[in-house]
Protein backbone atom coordinates (compact mmCIF):
# COMPACT_ATOMS: atom_id res chain seq x y z
CA UNK A 1 0.00 0.00 0.00
CA UNK A 2 1.42 3.39 -0.97
CA UNK A 3 2.26 5.63 1.91
CA UNK A 4 2.60 9.36 2.05
CA UNK A 5 6.12 10.39 1.14
CA UNK A 6 8.33 12.21 3.58
CA UNK A 7 8.66 15.83 2.50
CA UNK A 8 12.38 16.02 3.22
CA UNK A 9 12.99 13.09 0.88
CA UNK A 10 10.81 14.56 -1.81
CA UNK A 11 12.62 17.84 -1.51
CA UNK A 12 15.95 16.14 -1.93
CA UNK A 13 14.63 14.24 -4.92
CA UNK A 14 13.28 17.34 -6.61
CA UNK A 15 16.51 19.21 -6.03
CA UNK A 16 18.70 16.44 -7.35
CA UNK A 17 16.41 15.85 -10.29
CA UNK A 18 16.10 19.48 -11.31
CA UNK A 19 19.85 19.93 -10.98
CA UNK A 20 20.25 16.97 -13.33
CA UNK A 21 17.76 18.39 -15.80
CA UNK A 22 19.38 21.81 -15.85
CA UNK A 23 22.81 20.30 -16.28
CA UNK A 24 21.52 18.62 -19.42
CA UNK A 25 19.23 21.39 -20.60
CA UNK A 26 20.09 24.80 -19.13
CA UNK A 27 17.61 26.31 -21.59
CA UNK A 28 14.80 25.10 -19.35
CA UNK A 29 15.97 27.01 -16.33
CA UNK A 30 13.23 29.64 -16.47
CA UNK A 31 10.58 26.93 -16.39
CA UNK A 32 12.06 24.27 -14.18
CA UNK A 33 13.32 26.45 -11.35
CA UNK A 34 10.07 28.13 -10.27
CA UNK A 35 7.97 24.99 -10.60
CA UNK A 36 10.50 22.81 -8.80
CA UNK A 37 10.41 25.33 -5.95
CA UNK A 38 6.62 25.23 -5.97
CA UNK A 39 6.62 21.43 -5.91
CA UNK A 40 8.87 21.48 -2.85
CA UNK A 41 6.40 23.77 -1.12
CA UNK A 42 3.58 21.45 -2.14
CA UNK A 43 5.39 18.45 -0.74
CA UNK A 44 5.95 20.17 2.59
CA UNK A 45 2.33 21.18 2.65
CA UNK A 46 1.15 17.68 1.78
CA UNK A 47 3.05 16.32 4.75
CA UNK A 48 1.53 18.99 6.94
CA UNK A 49 -1.96 18.28 5.67
CA UNK A 50 -1.48 14.62 6.12
CA UNK A 51 -1.09 15.21 9.81
CA UNK A 52 -4.20 17.38 9.87
CA UNK A 53 -6.65 15.50 7.67
CA UNK A 54 -8.53 12.65 9.19
CA UNK A 55 -8.99 9.44 7.25
CA UNK A 56 -11.53 9.60 4.45
CA UNK A 57 -14.86 7.82 5.04
CA UNK A 58 -13.99 4.92 2.75
CA UNK A 59 -17.37 3.21 2.95
CA UNK A 60 -18.79 6.04 0.87
CA UNK A 61 -16.87 4.63 -2.11
CA UNK A 62 -19.17 1.67 -2.48
CA UNK A 63 -19.22 0.31 -6.02
CA UNK A 64 -18.15 3.55 -7.65
CA UNK A 65 -14.88 2.21 -8.98
CA UNK A 66 -16.24 -0.98 -10.41
CA UNK A 67 -18.86 1.13 -12.20
CA UNK A 68 -16.13 3.24 -13.71
CA UNK A 69 -16.70 6.29 -11.52
CA UNK A 70 -13.70 7.92 -9.83
CA UNK A 71 -13.79 7.96 -6.05
CA UNK A 72 -13.86 11.72 -5.57
CA UNK A 73 -16.08 12.83 -8.41
CA UNK A 74 -19.36 14.49 -7.67
CA UNK A 75 -19.05 14.33 -3.89
CA UNK A 76 -19.18 17.31 -1.56
CA UNK A 77 -15.78 18.75 -0.72
CA UNK A 78 -17.03 20.69 2.27
CA UNK A 79 -14.94 18.43 4.48
CA UNK A 80 -11.89 19.73 2.63
CA UNK A 81 -12.69 23.42 3.06
CA UNK A 82 -10.36 23.98 5.92
CA UNK A 83 -7.56 22.06 4.25
CA UNK A 84 -7.94 24.00 1.03
CA UNK A 85 -7.88 27.33 2.82
CA UNK A 86 -4.84 26.22 4.73
CA UNK A 87 -3.18 25.10 1.53
CA UNK A 88 -3.85 28.36 -0.21
CA UNK A 89 -2.52 30.37 2.70
CA UNK A 90 0.59 28.24 2.75
CA UNK A 91 1.24 28.35 -1.01
CA UNK A 92 0.31 31.93 -1.88
CA UNK A 93 3.62 33.46 -0.75
CA UNK A 94 5.60 30.94 -2.76
CA UNK A 95 3.51 31.61 -5.84
CA UNK A 96 3.96 35.31 -5.50
CA UNK A 97 7.67 35.11 -4.98
CA UNK A 98 8.19 32.82 -7.98
CA UNK A 99 5.76 34.53 -10.34
CA UNK A 100 5.77 38.28 -9.77
CA UNK A 101 3.60 38.75 -12.84
CA UNK A 102 0.51 37.53 -11.04
CA UNK A 103 1.05 39.05 -7.61
CA UNK A 104 -1.92 41.41 -7.96
CA UNK A 105 -4.29 38.62 -8.92
CA UNK A 106 -3.16 36.45 -6.05
CA UNK A 107 -3.49 39.37 -3.67
CA UNK A 108 -7.07 39.83 -4.74
CA UNK A 109 -7.86 36.14 -4.29
CA UNK A 110 -6.31 36.27 -0.83
CA UNK A 111 -8.50 39.20 0.08
CA UNK A 112 -11.69 37.64 -1.20
CA UNK A 113 -10.91 34.42 0.54
CA UNK A 114 -10.22 36.21 3.80
CA UNK A 115 -13.54 38.02 3.47
CA UNK A 116 -15.35 34.79 2.84
CA UNK A 117 -16.34 35.79 -0.69
CA UNK A 118 -14.60 32.77 -2.15
CA UNK A 119 -15.24 29.18 -1.11
CA UNK A 120 -12.32 27.13 -2.39
CA UNK A 121 -14.07 23.86 -1.58
CA UNK A 122 -17.01 24.75 -3.81
CA UNK A 123 -14.70 25.83 -6.57
CA UNK A 124 -12.72 22.63 -6.22
CA UNK A 125 -15.83 20.52 -6.38
CA UNK A 126 -16.92 22.28 -9.51
CA UNK A 127 -13.47 22.10 -10.99
CA UNK A 128 -13.46 18.32 -10.71
CA UNK A 129 -17.11 17.97 -11.61
CA UNK A 130 -16.63 19.89 -14.82
CA UNK A 131 -18.49 23.08 -13.87
CA UNK A 132 -16.94 26.48 -13.43
CA UNK A 133 -19.85 28.63 -12.36
CA UNK A 134 -18.22 29.69 -9.12
CA UNK A 135 -15.44 31.32 -11.01
CA UNK A 136 -17.71 32.98 -13.48
CA UNK A 137 -19.91 34.36 -10.75
CA UNK A 138 -17.04 36.08 -9.02
CA UNK A 139 -17.60 39.22 -11.05
CA UNK A 140 -16.32 41.48 -12.18
CA UNK A 141 -13.16 39.68 -13.24
CA UNK A 142 -10.25 40.23 -15.53
CA UNK A 143 -9.01 37.43 -17.68
CA UNK A 144 -5.81 37.25 -15.64
CA UNK A 145 -7.79 37.01 -12.42
CA UNK A 146 -9.97 34.30 -13.85
CA UNK A 147 -6.99 32.29 -15.09
CA UNK A 148 -5.12 32.86 -11.85
CA UNK A 149 -8.07 31.65 -9.84
CA UNK A 150 -8.11 28.50 -11.96
CA UNK A 151 -4.41 28.09 -11.29
CA UNK A 152 -4.95 28.57 -7.55
CA UNK A 153 -7.82 26.08 -7.41
CA UNK A 154 -5.78 23.57 -9.35
CA UNK A 155 -2.71 24.09 -7.19
CA UNK A 156 -4.39 23.93 -3.79
CA UNK A 157 -6.68 21.08 -4.69
CA UNK A 158 -3.72 19.20 -6.07
CA UNK A 159 -1.78 19.74 -2.84
CA UNK A 160 -4.69 18.48 -0.76
CA UNK A 161 -5.47 15.51 -2.98
CA UNK A 162 -1.83 14.49 -3.12
CA UNK A 163 -1.98 13.96 0.59
CA UNK A 164 -5.29 12.11 0.33
CA UNK A 165 -4.56 9.90 -2.65
CA UNK A 166 -2.19 7.39 -1.04
CA UNK A 167 -4.90 6.29 1.39
CA UNK A 168 -7.21 5.58 -1.54
CA UNK A 169 -4.66 3.98 -3.83
CA UNK A 170 -5.10 0.48 -2.44
CA UNK A 171 -8.81 0.56 -3.11
CA UNK A 172 -8.22 1.78 -6.63
CA UNK A 173 -5.69 -0.96 -7.26
CA UNK A 174 -8.16 -3.66 -6.22
CA UNK A 175 -10.15 -3.33 -9.39
CA UNK A 176 -8.73 -3.44 -12.87
CA UNK A 177 -9.22 0.22 -13.76
CA UNK A 178 -8.93 0.46 -17.52
CA UNK A 179 -9.70 4.11 -18.15
CA UNK A 180 -7.56 7.00 -19.25
CA UNK A 181 -8.65 9.20 -16.35
CA UNK A 182 -7.64 8.84 -12.74
CA UNK A 183 -9.61 6.36 -10.60
CA UNK A 184 -9.29 8.64 -7.60
CA UNK A 185 -10.01 12.17 -8.80
CA UNK A 186 -10.99 11.69 -12.43
CA UNK A 187 -8.30 13.98 -13.83
CA UNK A 188 -6.27 13.23 -16.90
CA UNK A 189 -2.64 12.10 -16.69
CA UNK A 190 0.22 14.55 -16.77
CA UNK A 191 2.89 12.09 -17.80
CA UNK A 192 3.35 8.34 -18.09
CA UNK A 193 6.26 6.21 -17.03
CA UNK A 194 7.62 2.79 -17.83
CA UNK A 195 8.38 1.00 -14.60
CA UNK A 196 11.68 -0.24 -13.29
CA UNK A 197 12.16 -3.98 -12.91
CA UNK A 198 10.30 -5.09 -9.82
CA UNK A 199 12.38 -6.00 -6.80
CA UNK A 200 10.91 -9.42 -6.08
CA UNK A 201 12.37 -12.29 -4.16
CA UNK A 202 11.98 -14.42 -7.28
CA UNK A 203 15.34 -15.55 -8.50
CA UNK A 204 14.51 -16.19 -12.10
CA UNK A 205 13.60 -14.03 -15.07
CA UNK A 206 11.60 -11.59 -13.04
CA UNK A 207 10.82 -9.42 -16.02
CA UNK A 208 12.47 -6.27 -17.15
CA UNK A 209 9.83 -3.86 -15.91
CA UNK A 210 8.54 -1.58 -18.64
CA UNK A 211 4.94 -1.64 -17.47
CA UNK A 212 3.29 1.65 -18.35
CA UNK A 213 1.69 3.75 -15.65
CA UNK A 214 -0.21 6.98 -16.01
CA UNK A 215 0.53 9.67 -13.45
CA UNK A 216 -2.42 11.83 -12.48
CA UNK A 217 -1.97 15.56 -13.07
CA UNK A 218 -4.03 16.39 -10.03
CA UNK A 219 -3.69 13.91 -7.19
CA UNK A 220 -0.48 12.20 -8.31
CA UNK A 221 -1.96 8.70 -8.30
CA UNK A 222 -0.28 6.20 -10.68
CA UNK A 223 -2.32 3.52 -12.42
CA UNK A 224 -1.35 0.71 -14.76
CA UNK A 225 -2.39 0.67 -18.41
CA UNK A 226 -1.23 -1.23 -21.46
CA UNK A 227 1.76 0.11 -23.33
CA UNK A 228 -0.10 1.18 -26.45
CA UNK A 229 -3.17 2.60 -24.71
CA UNK A 230 -4.26 6.18 -25.35
CA UNK A 231 -5.65 7.88 -22.26
CA UNK A 232 -7.68 10.37 -24.31
CA UNK A 233 -9.57 8.06 -26.66
CA UNK A 234 -8.95 4.83 -24.70
CA UNK A 235 -7.95 2.92 -27.84
CA UNK A 236 -5.14 0.40 -28.06
CA UNK A 237 -2.88 0.33 -31.09
CA UNK A 238 -0.58 -2.64 -30.84
CA UNK A 239 0.28 -2.38 -34.55
CA UNK A 240 0.82 1.35 -35.03
CA UNK A 241 1.61 2.97 -31.73
CA UNK A 242 3.99 5.92 -32.22
CA UNK A 243 6.34 7.94 -30.11
CA UNK A 244 9.07 10.42 -30.75
CA UNK A 245 12.13 11.43 -28.84
CA UNK A 246 15.24 13.53 -29.13
CA UNK A 247 18.10 11.62 -30.70
CA UNK A 248 20.45 11.52 -27.73
CA UNK A 249 17.93 11.39 -24.90
CA UNK A 250 17.29 7.77 -24.02
CA UNK A 251 14.26 7.15 -21.88
CA UNK A 252 12.48 10.43 -22.59
CA UNK A 253 9.77 10.44 -25.18
CA UNK A 254 6.33 11.58 -26.19
CA UNK A 255 3.70 8.97 -27.02
CA UNK A 256 1.20 10.07 -29.62
CA UNK A 257 -2.12 8.53 -30.48
CA UNK A 258 -2.71 7.79 -34.17
CA UNK A 259 -6.47 7.91 -33.58
CA UNK A 260 -7.16 11.13 -31.68
CA UNK A 261 -3.96 13.19 -31.99
CA UNK A 262 -3.40 13.53 -28.26
CA UNK A 263 0.08 13.20 -26.82
CA UNK A 264 1.54 12.31 -23.46
CA UNK A 265 5.16 12.64 -22.33
CA UNK A 266 6.73 9.46 -21.02
CA UNK A 267 9.84 8.64 -19.01
CA UNK A 268 11.39 5.20 -19.10
CA UNK A 269 12.52 4.56 -15.55
CA UNK A 270 14.48 1.51 -16.66
CA UNK A 271 16.95 3.87 -18.28
CA UNK A 272 17.72 5.86 -15.18
CA UNK A 273 18.51 5.50 -11.55
CA UNK A 274 17.53 9.14 -10.95
CA UNK A 275 14.79 9.77 -8.38
CA UNK A 276 11.39 9.62 -10.00
CA UNK A 277 9.58 12.82 -9.03
CA UNK A 278 7.21 12.69 -11.95
CA UNK A 279 5.83 16.24 -11.76
CA UNK A 280 9.36 17.61 -11.97
CA UNK A 281 10.17 15.18 -14.76
CA UNK A 282 7.14 16.45 -16.67
CA UNK A 283 8.33 20.05 -16.35
CA UNK A 284 11.76 18.92 -17.49
CA UNK A 285 10.22 17.66 -20.73
CA UNK A 286 8.66 21.02 -21.66
CA UNK A 287 10.76 21.03 -24.85
CA UNK A 288 8.92 17.90 -25.96
CA UNK A 289 5.62 19.67 -25.27
CA UNK A 290 6.75 22.43 -27.60
CA UNK A 291 7.56 19.92 -30.30
CA UNK A 292 4.38 17.88 -29.91
CA UNK A 293 2.21 20.94 -30.10
CA UNK A 294 4.09 22.26 -33.11
CA UNK A 295 3.33 18.95 -34.81
CA UNK A 296 -0.35 19.54 -34.13
CA UNK A 297 -0.90 17.19 -31.19
CA UNK A 298 -2.87 18.11 -28.10
CA UNK A 299 -1.85 17.60 -24.48
CA UNK A 300 -3.98 15.39 -22.26
CA UNK A 301 -4.07 18.13 -19.68
CA UNK A 302 -3.27 21.84 -19.73
CA UNK A 303 -0.59 22.98 -17.33
CA UNK A 304 1.18 26.32 -17.23
CA UNK A 305 4.39 24.76 -18.47
CA UNK A 306 2.79 23.19 -21.49
CA UNK A 307 0.84 26.34 -22.32
CA UNK A 308 3.28 28.58 -24.01
CA UNK A 309 1.22 31.53 -25.17
Amino acid sequence: MPTNPVAANVEREIQSLSAGILAKRPQLEGIVKPFAALFIEKARLAEDLNNQLGPLPLDSIGTRLSEGVPVLCGISFSFLKQALDYAFTALAPAVKSRFPAIVSAIDRIETEQRLGALDLSLLAEEYLGGGLSGIREAAPVTELYRQSLGFVVQLTLSAVLQSLAPSLAARAAEIGWDHGHCPICGSMPLISFLSQPPNTPSEYLVGGGGQRYLHCAMCGHDWHVRRQFCAACEKDSSDQHMYFKAADAAGERVDICPHCAHYLPCVDLRETDAPAHLDTMAVGLAHLDVLAQEKGFHPMVRTPWNTFA
Binding site: P34, E67, G150, Q154, G207, Q211, R227, M242, A246, L291
Partner: protein, 188 residues
Protein backbone atom coordinates in the same frame (compact mmCIF):
# COMPACT_ATOMS: atom_id res chain seq x y z
CA UNK B 1 -24.58 7.77 -10.83
CA UNK B 2 -23.42 9.06 -14.13
CA UNK B 3 -20.29 11.09 -14.45
CA UNK B 4 -19.28 11.89 -17.94
CA UNK B 5 -15.56 11.77 -18.27
CA UNK B 6 -15.71 14.05 -21.27
CA UNK B 7 -16.55 16.75 -18.78
CA UNK B 8 -13.21 16.30 -17.08
CA UNK B 9 -11.55 16.53 -20.41
CA UNK B 10 -13.26 19.80 -21.05
CA UNK B 11 -11.88 21.19 -17.86
CA UNK B 12 -8.45 19.81 -17.59
CA UNK B 13 -7.76 19.01 -21.21
CA UNK B 14 -8.92 21.95 -23.20
CA UNK B 15 -7.38 24.54 -20.96
CA UNK B 16 -10.34 26.76 -20.29
CA UNK B 17 -8.86 27.66 -17.00
CA UNK B 18 -5.24 28.07 -16.03
CA UNK B 19 -2.30 30.21 -16.74
CA UNK B 20 0.21 30.12 -19.55
CA UNK B 21 3.92 30.55 -19.12
CA UNK B 22 3.59 33.90 -20.77
CA UNK B 23 1.07 35.06 -18.16
CA UNK B 24 3.34 33.80 -15.44
CA UNK B 25 6.07 35.95 -16.87
CA UNK B 26 8.30 33.10 -17.95
CA UNK B 27 10.40 33.66 -21.06
CA UNK B 28 9.62 30.75 -23.39
CA UNK B 29 12.07 31.71 -26.12
CA UNK B 30 14.98 29.56 -24.83
CA UNK B 31 12.90 26.41 -24.70
CA UNK B 32 11.45 27.02 -28.13
CA UNK B 33 14.90 27.56 -29.56
CA UNK B 34 16.19 24.46 -27.80
CA UNK B 35 13.29 22.34 -29.09
CA UNK B 36 13.82 23.58 -32.60
CA UNK B 37 17.47 22.52 -32.58
CA UNK B 38 16.76 18.97 -31.43
CA UNK B 39 17.17 16.01 -33.74
CA UNK B 40 13.85 14.22 -33.45
CA UNK B 41 13.28 10.54 -34.08
CA UNK B 42 9.80 9.17 -34.68
CA UNK B 43 9.43 5.50 -33.76
CA UNK B 44 6.69 2.90 -33.95
CA UNK B 45 6.03 0.30 -31.27
CA UNK B 46 4.68 -2.89 -32.81
CA UNK B 47 3.80 -6.04 -30.92
CA UNK B 48 5.17 -9.29 -32.29
CA UNK B 49 5.80 -12.77 -30.92
CA UNK B 50 9.21 -14.37 -30.28
CA UNK B 51 9.97 -17.01 -32.94
CA UNK B 52 11.55 -19.59 -30.66
CA UNK B 53 10.08 -21.82 -27.99
CA UNK B 54 6.37 -22.32 -27.56
CA UNK B 55 5.90 -19.95 -24.64
CA UNK B 56 5.38 -17.36 -27.41
CA UNK B 57 6.66 -14.43 -25.39
CA UNK B 58 5.48 -11.14 -26.79
CA UNK B 59 8.05 -8.71 -28.03
CA UNK B 60 7.65 -5.01 -28.64
CA UNK B 61 9.53 -4.05 -31.78
CA UNK B 62 10.73 -0.46 -32.00
CA UNK B 63 10.77 0.49 -35.66
CA UNK B 64 12.15 3.71 -37.07
CA UNK B 65 12.02 4.53 -40.75
CA UNK B 66 11.05 0.95 -41.53
CA UNK B 67 14.09 -0.42 -39.67
CA UNK B 68 14.05 -2.43 -36.49
CA UNK B 69 16.07 -0.45 -33.95
CA UNK B 70 15.45 -2.37 -30.76
CA UNK B 71 13.20 -4.93 -29.15
CA UNK B 72 11.99 -5.54 -25.63
CA UNK B 73 9.77 -8.07 -23.91
CA UNK B 74 6.13 -6.97 -23.87
CA UNK B 75 5.43 -6.11 -20.23
CA UNK B 76 1.69 -6.53 -20.75
CA UNK B 77 1.70 -10.14 -21.99
CA UNK B 78 0.54 -12.11 -18.94
CA UNK B 79 3.09 -14.88 -19.45
CA UNK B 80 6.45 -13.18 -19.95
CA UNK B 81 5.53 -9.84 -18.34
CA UNK B 82 8.43 -8.19 -20.12
CA UNK B 83 11.05 -10.87 -19.42
CA UNK B 84 13.03 -12.46 -22.26
CA UNK B 85 15.70 -15.14 -22.41
CA UNK B 86 19.00 -14.77 -24.26
CA UNK B 87 17.56 -15.94 -27.60
CA UNK B 88 14.50 -13.74 -27.34
CA UNK B 89 16.74 -10.84 -26.44
CA UNK B 90 18.82 -11.31 -29.57
CA UNK B 91 15.99 -10.66 -32.06
CA UNK B 92 17.70 -7.57 -33.35
CA UNK B 93 20.92 -9.25 -34.46
CA UNK B 94 18.89 -12.20 -35.67
CA UNK B 95 16.94 -10.14 -38.19
CA UNK B 96 19.90 -7.99 -39.11
CA UNK B 97 22.59 -10.59 -39.57
CA UNK B 98 24.64 -10.66 -42.73
CA UNK B 99 23.95 -14.28 -43.57
CA UNK B 100 20.24 -13.88 -44.34
CA UNK B 101 19.12 -15.23 -47.70
CA UNK B 102 17.78 -12.32 -49.72
CA UNK B 103 17.06 -13.61 -53.22
CA UNK B 104 15.58 -16.76 -54.75
CA UNK B 105 18.38 -18.98 -55.99
CA UNK B 106 18.87 -22.01 -58.18
CA UNK B 107 21.55 -24.66 -58.22
CA UNK B 108 21.67 -26.64 -61.46
CA UNK B 109 22.60 -30.35 -61.58
CA UNK B 110 26.35 -30.77 -61.26
CA UNK B 111 26.88 -27.07 -60.66
CA UNK B 112 29.15 -25.87 -57.88
CA UNK B 113 27.35 -22.58 -57.31
CA UNK B 114 24.06 -20.85 -56.67
CA UNK B 115 22.51 -18.58 -59.31
CA UNK B 116 20.19 -15.72 -58.38
CA UNK B 117 16.75 -15.93 -60.00
CA UNK B 118 13.47 -14.03 -59.98
CA UNK B 119 10.41 -15.22 -58.10
CA UNK B 120 8.48 -15.52 -61.38
CA UNK B 121 11.10 -17.76 -62.96
CA UNK B 122 11.31 -19.85 -59.81
CA UNK B 123 7.55 -20.41 -59.51
CA UNK B 124 7.29 -21.27 -63.20
CA UNK B 125 10.12 -23.81 -63.03
CA UNK B 126 8.80 -25.49 -59.90
CA UNK B 127 5.22 -25.56 -61.16
CA UNK B 128 6.19 -27.32 -64.37
CA UNK B 129 8.20 -29.93 -62.47
CA UNK B 130 5.35 -30.56 -60.04
CA UNK B 131 2.85 -30.92 -62.88
CA UNK B 132 5.11 -33.25 -64.83
CA UNK B 133 5.58 -35.63 -61.89
CA UNK B 134 1.96 -35.45 -60.80
CA UNK B 135 0.53 -36.06 -64.25
CA UNK B 136 2.74 -39.11 -64.57
CA UNK B 137 2.77 -40.56 -61.06
CA UNK B 138 -0.63 -39.79 -59.54
CA UNK B 139 -2.14 -43.10 -58.50
CA UNK B 140 -5.82 -42.75 -59.28
CA UNK B 141 -6.76 -46.39 -58.66
CA UNK B 142 -4.90 -48.88 -56.51
CA UNK B 143 -4.29 -52.54 -57.34
CA UNK B 144 -7.72 -53.48 -56.00
CA UNK B 145 -9.38 -50.87 -58.19
CA UNK B 146 -10.18 -48.48 -55.37
CA UNK B 147 -10.01 -44.74 -56.03
CA UNK B 148 -7.04 -43.38 -54.07
CA UNK B 149 -5.84 -40.29 -55.99
CA UNK B 150 -2.52 -40.18 -54.20
CA UNK B 151 0.88 -39.00 -55.31
CA UNK B 152 3.66 -40.93 -53.58
CA UNK B 153 6.67 -39.65 -55.50
CA UNK B 154 6.55 -36.06 -54.19
CA UNK B 155 6.83 -34.95 -50.58
CA UNK B 156 6.24 -31.87 -48.47
CA UNK B 157 7.96 -31.37 -45.12
CA UNK B 158 7.76 -28.32 -42.80
CA UNK B 159 7.17 -26.30 -40.82
CA UNK B 160 6.40 -25.26 -37.28
CA UNK B 161 7.99 -21.90 -38.10
CA UNK B 162 4.97 -21.10 -40.24
CA UNK B 163 1.92 -19.23 -38.98
CA UNK B 164 -1.37 -21.08 -38.57
CA UNK B 165 -2.66 -19.39 -41.71
CA UNK B 166 0.35 -20.61 -43.68
CA UNK B 167 0.00 -24.12 -42.28
CA UNK B 168 -3.62 -24.20 -43.41
CA UNK B 169 -2.61 -23.08 -46.90
CA UNK B 170 0.17 -25.68 -46.98
CA UNK B 171 -2.16 -28.47 -45.97
CA UNK B 172 -4.80 -27.52 -48.52
CA UNK B 173 -2.20 -27.31 -51.28
CA UNK B 174 -0.59 -30.61 -50.35
CA UNK B 175 -3.84 -32.58 -50.29
CA UNK B 176 -4.98 -30.90 -53.50
CA UNK B 177 -1.84 -32.15 -55.21
CA UNK B 178 -2.45 -35.61 -53.74
CA UNK B 179 0.78 -35.66 -51.71
CA UNK B 180 0.80 -38.14 -48.82
CA UNK B 181 4.43 -37.91 -47.70
CA UNK B 182 3.83 -35.00 -45.31
CA UNK B 183 5.73 -34.34 -42.13
CA UNK B 184 7.37 -31.62 -40.05
CA UNK B 185 9.09 -30.81 -36.76
CA UNK B 186 6.31 -32.38 -34.69
CA UNK B 187 8.37 -35.56 -35.15
CA UNK B 188 11.79 -34.11 -34.36
Amino acid sequence: MEVNRREFLKVSGSGVIGLSLLQLGVDVRPVRAYAKALKIEGTKEIVSVCPFCSVSCHIIAHVRGGKLISTEGDPDYPINQGALCAKGASMLSMTRNENRLKKPMYRAPGSAKWEEKTWEWTFEQIASRVKKVRDKDLIQKDASGRTVNRLESLFFIGTSHADNEECAAAHQMVRGLGIVHVDHQART
